[in-house]
């Protein structure tokens, strides 16, 4: 971790501690992070909150935008590379899948983009399918797949053949499982017949917000206990002090997306607060900034990024 990153993390930790127990509310109108003639979707904050990575149209291309200027760098223009990418914890790399189609067959390769020098490192060989989205181990030495049918991890160092030796929670075959690193075995966090459609582990590691089919939103302790319904929503993202989530709730008629709104919710049971009461926009993919001060989101239909400032009191 660079000295600059270490300093930024220290500031983040201090500021996050100040947010504990406070109420979050949006303040002011959303501020455009990109211009109307640019197209970005699915934004994700860098760990230090200084950048936002996003994808382009139909998840083609991968970009990094400076916050708050919106100046951006294109890391890739590949098809579908922008779906399910993941920042490394040190904020220097982004893991993603590159997909190539030829004669209707595809090959997929796991890669890591260096956000500083914009170089690309190939992590896996090209194969017919990378069945899951990449996530980083806590030491950034490995990438593993979540939302997959079987666990698989990849070493960043091509000379390192070690496997990931870290216990973690990931999504396997539509369920959330806990992986025991010592035994290299998975066990379901809890029993459910519902299909998991999105999840987020709280920054303190104690809770998981997740959704199941039909945009049903739930909260469960990270040991699988005390599961309870939070209402309707999908794609939760935690605030840094692990007390609030932001999520989206969409409406469609089977063909078209008719509406999408963003809500924040204190997970101890408060009523959701709509933070996007704009009738003409489809606000999607919200993400709380690492310091809790902003929520970034896209307007899916027309591909613009906005940030909503949050007030804590």
């Amino acid at each position: 971790m660079s000295q600059r990153t270490q300093i930024l993390f220290a500031i983040l930790i201090l500021s996050v501690g100040l947010l504990m127990g406070e109420e979050a509310r949006p303040t002011g109108d959303p501020i455009p992070l990109s211009t109307p003639d640019e197209f970005f979707i699915a934004p994700q904050w860098s760990p230090d909150g200084s950048q936002v990575a996003a994808s382009g149209q139909s998840y083609a291309g991968l970009y990094v935008l400076e916050f708050p200027t919106g100046n951006f760098t294109q890391l890739s223009n590949a098809n579908s590379v922008g779906y399910g990418f993941s920042w490394s914890h040190d904020g220097q790399h982004i893991a993603a899948r590159i997909t190539r189609f030829e004669n209707m067959f595809k090959t997929q390769t796991l890669v890591s983009f260096n956000t500083i020098d914009e170089s690309i490192t190939t992590i896996s060989d090209a194969r017919s399918r990378i069945g899951g989205v990449p996530r980083w181990s806590s030491d950034d030495a490995h990438i593993y797949l979540s939302k997959t049918d079987s666990f698989e991890s990849f070493s960043i160092d091509q000379n390192d053949n070690s496997s990931l030796s870290e216990s973690l929670i990931y999504q396997k075959s539509d369920q959330l499982v806990s992986r025991n690193a010592l035994r290299s075995s998975d066990s379901p966090l809890f029993s459910t017949v519902d299909r998991i459609t999105s999840y987020a582990v709280s920054p303190d590691g104690l809770k998981i917000a997740y959704s199941t089919s039909g945009q049903k939103l739930w909260l469960v302790n990270s040991d699988g206990s005390d599961k309870r319904a939070l209402g309707s929503g999908i794609e939760p993202s935690w605030s840094p002090e692990s007390e609030w989530i932001v999520y989206m709730l969409t409406a469609d008629d089977g063909h078209d997306m008719l509406g999408s709104e963003l809500y924040i919710l204190k997970v101890d049971g408060n009523t959701p607060i709509n933070i996007s009461e704009t009738p003409d926009l489809l606000e999607m993919h919200p993400q709380w900034s690492p310091d809790g001060s902003w929520i970034v989101f896209d307007t899916s239909g027309d591909g613009q990024l906005f940030v909503q400032q949050m007030e804590w009191r």
Binding site: N79, F105, K106, Q215, T250, S260, E277, G303
Partner: protein, 831 residues
């Protein structure tokens, strides 16, 4: 029976592993969830496309070396949002995405459509591939379903009524094409709003057959030879009626297939055993040899054909039209046997169960006592009418005989007693009614006598007990007059005949004065069709309202407004309808003439009385101009509804909280038990809501969603409503009406009218200049009993009103005071 079919399938698949798909996978997306987008006969798009998708998955997994096939859902219970469908495929890194749908539209519409991701300039959305797959699939799906195709279309080139692609020129229109990271397309496999198609979808093997077209599409696209399917399929129908036959049995190679029956399938969608049919049969995995195919069904002659060779790579179709073996009989007649009220001047008719040999029927037809007349056949010789040369004798018993020698077009002898054996007579005895010697009478008026708060521009309806001779009356025989000065108002009179009754509709061309007494005078002289003349006139008195409406128009149904509204059958919320009787159109014949309307919305409805729930949701299409009219629950929603008197139901539906969570709320039901126009008003702040899928609370901003109709059990099952000038209004109260004609030069308390009265009277007065005015009522003991008015008024003529319902009969005094001057006048309450 169907177990045998699947046994055959398993035998074939063991021996038919197709290679060439290793390394490839498919995400198949059965669109919608649960029972969304209900089909016209009660089978939803969501259920039908799920079975197609799962059959495709099963075929691919069992017959090919494909890596895997996922589905966005695997049962009818789970709910999956659009976002979740594409995210699931993207997470898995699927190679291809195919979304399965069926279409909606008018009942007659039924076709196949493929939509692939395309940009505004025609460029295929990368990663490309959906276009090529669609080009193949649209042909195969069309051929398998034997339906016309409207093509393989790039989505931006298809949805040209939307400006989305123009504004976002490098993004495809459809969400599934826009948000998937792999090649994709969406198929529309026929219309679930087409009755025949919806009933075919109910057959499990039919959805498998559609899946085969998608399976073959994939193989063709990869250049892989299709395996031999051994599929024989077709439709079995009644040669006479064309109706598809339930319970027909097809036997091939010693195996049999029985077409769906009410007991096996259709009871899930209808309580009427005769309503649903598909006549579909299906064999798969038949050996590639010559086959004898035997078809039999109760009540029909069986049929046998030889199929020498099945198609090596497609469905082999053989349809059957079976000839009925039952004798013909009469299904309905006028009069019925035993009828004692048959109108002697009417035409007699008989409906046969099938087309008849006309010559044999004419030879077998007799009427006694004898009456000259002509026999006229219609409806493919299924209806026989006897047109008497003259009116039958009144109060006379007649009998009509159709002899057992009459024959149908197949030569079956007529079955007069309907015992299933031909050759016997039908005898219908009836008695004619007395002659009509009664003058027409008025059975109802709207407004009713002494109605209060009548609209300032009223539409007056006069309903008679029988049809009037239109030559017996003219516009001068119905007059609208102001009672105070007998001034005749300008009106338009229209004559409608509904349910054999005349309905006169009188439109006021101008606003009447507020809180003013008027009367409708109906003069004598109206005649019925038999020359009986109404000998006395009728007067209907009413009082106008003391408020006017400030109108915000939602939809006036002018200027090609029909495009704003869905076909009735497009809505998945419908239930209990007879689809072929349901239609929406624009009418130029029946409109609200008093408001200058040229066109109205005409809604024909037909209800299945055997259903358990009934709903028509005439839906206002998204994105249309009327949807831009937003309002709150402080307003009153109104529409003019021209009723058919059937007593069925009508209500409004709005979307509420449109900038928030959004929901649907409805008005209470209104029983349409009237003829002619009525202004239906839903005072949203005070009338409450009905029960549907909302929470009963009208929240936030509202917009109009739909007109909804329903059936009242026991009432007529078909009819027509006309809707005009849909709007929201607010009331603006007018304390007193001010006449503009003539400027009074003195203060005067004018004679009240009516007088005597019970309980309302109008108290007119004039002011030569502006003044503080008080109007009070005293009894003869000098005690004040009412303070009618107290306020500042301008110079002019004014009218105030007193309701004497709280006092007893007797003489009273009006006292009017202004500018220190007092006037009094005696008045009489007579109860």
């Amino acid at each position: 029976m169907k177990k045998l079919v699947f046994l055959l399938i398993s035998v074939v698949t063991i021996n038919a592993q197709v290679t060439g798909l290793a390394g490839w996978d498919l995400f198949v997306d059965p669109g919608h969830s649960q029972t969304e987008n209900m089909g016209v006969n009660g089978y939803s798009e969501a259920e039908e496309v799920l079975r197609t998708a799962l059959n495709l998955r099963e075929i691919l997994l069992t017959q090919t070396d494909i890596d895997t096939v996922w589905s966005s859902r695997y049962n009818d219970q789970v709910e999956v949002s659009l976002y979740e469908r594409t995210s699931d495929a993207n997470n898995r890194g699927a190679s291809w995405y195919h979304s399965v749908h069926s279409n909606a539209g008018a009942p007659s519409n039924n076709n196949v459509l493929l939509l692939w991701g395309m940009w505004y300039d025609g460029t295929p959305d990368p990663p490309a591939g959906g276009e090529g797959m669609s080009d193949i699939m649209v042909e195969l799906l069309s051929d398998v379903m034997r339906l016309p195709s409207i093509g393989s279309r790039g989505d931006c080139g298809f949805y040209t009524w939307s400006d989305y692609c123009q504004n976002n020129p490098t993004i495809p229109y459809l969400y599934v094409n826009r948000n998937t990271t792999m090649p994709s397309e969406l198929s529309e496999q026929g219309h679930h709003t087409n009755p025949l198609q919806n009933q075919l979808f109910m057959n499990e093997e039919y959805t498998r057959m559609m899946a085969y077209s998608m399976f073959w599409t994939i193989l063709d696209n990869f250049g892989i030879a299709r395996p031999y399917p051994g599929i024989l399929a077709g439709i079995i129908s009644d040669a006479e009626s064309g109706i598809r036959i339930n319970g027909a049995t097809v036997t091939v190679n010693g195996e049999s297939y029985t077409t769906d029956t009410y007991e096996s399938r259709f009871n899930q969608f209808s309580s009427d055993p005769d309503e649903l049919h598909n006549g579909f049969y299906y064999f798969e995995g038949l050996p590639n040899t010559s086959h004898e195919v035997i078809v039999s069904a109760e009540g029909f002659y069986s049929d046998t054909i030889q199929v020498n060779a099945l198609s090596p790579d497609f469905v082999t179709y053989r349809d059957f039209s079976l000839t009925p073996s039952t004798p013909p009989f009469v299904t309905n007649s006028y009069p019925l046997d035993g009828d004692s009220t048959y109108a002697a001047w009417d035409i007699l008719w008989f409906d046969f169960s099938r087309g008849m040999d006309e010559a044999s029927v004419e030879a077998a037809f007799t009427i006694s006592p004898a009456m000259e007349g002509g026999l006229v056949f219609s409806t493919d010789s299924k209806r026989l009418a006897f047109v008497p040369a003259d009116t039958l004798e009144f109060l006379t018993t007649y009998s009509i005989t159709i002899g057992g020698s009459a024959m149908d077009t197949y030569g079956h002898l007529f079955d007069g007693n309907q015992d299933g054996v031909g050759g016997d007579d039908l005898v219908i005895g009836f008695k004619t009614s007395p002659p009509d010697l009664t003058a027409p009478i008025i059975t109802s008026t709207y407004p009713v006598e002494d109605a209060d708060r009548v609209d300032l521009r009223p539409i007056i309806t006069i309903v008679w007990d029988e049809e009037l001779d239109p030559g017996s009356f003219n516009d001068d025989m119905v007059k609208l007059e102001r009672i105070y000065n007998l001034e005749v108002q300008e009106t338009i009179l229209q004559h409608h005949v509904m349910d054999n009754q005349s309905v006169l509709v009188l439109y006021s061309e101008n606003d009447l004065l507020d809180a003013e007494d008027y009367r409708v005078r109906i003069f004598p002289g109206f005649e019925d069709l038999f020359g009986n003349t109404q000998g006395s006139g009728t007067v209907v008195n009413f009082t106008t309202s003391n408020y006017e409406y400030v109108v915000t128009n939602i939809e006036n149904f002018e200027n090609n407004a029909l495009s704003n509204w869905w076909e009735i059958q497009q809505s998945g919320s419908n239930s209990g309808i007879v689809t072929e009787l349901c239609n929406r159109d624009i009418s130029t014949d029946i409109t609200v003439l008093s408001e200058g309307s040229n066109t109205s919305l005409k809604l024909d409805y037909g209800w299945n009385p055997s259903a358990t729930s009934w709903m028509i949701r005439e839906y206002l299409a998204p994105g249309t101009q009327p949807r831009t009219v937003h309002f709150t629950s402080s307003r009153i929603m109104q529409a003019y509804v021209f009723g058919d008197g059937n007593g069925n139901k009508f209500r409004f539906c709005v979307d509420d909280d449109i900038y928030g969570s959004g929901a649907h709320e409805v008005s209470p039901w209104y029983d349409i038990d009237w003829y002619g126009w009525r202004l239906v008003s839903w005072d949203m702040a005070h009338d409450g809501t009905g029960t549907w899928i909302g929470d009963g609370s009208l929240d936030g901003q509202l917009e109009f969603d739909s007109i909804q109709l329903s059936y009242t059990p026991g009432q007529p099952t078909s009819g027509t409503y006309y809707i005009d000038n849909l709007r929201v209004v607010r009331r603006e109260y007018l304390a007193l009406d001010e006449q503009t004609a003539g400027r009074p030069t003195e203060m005067a308390l004018l004679p009240n009218y009516p007088n005597p009265f019970n309980p309302m009277t109008n108290i007119p007065f004039t002011l030569p200049e502006s003044a503080e005015v008080q109007v009070k009522i005293y009894n003869l003991r000098g005690e004040e009993v009412a303070h009618v008015f107290n306020g500042y008024l301008a110079q002019g003529y004014h009218v105030t009103r007193w309701n004497a319902s709280e006092v007893s009969s007797g003489l009273y005094l009006i006292e009017m005071q202004a500018n220190g001057i007092s006037n009094t006048r005696k008045i009489m309450v007579l109860k």
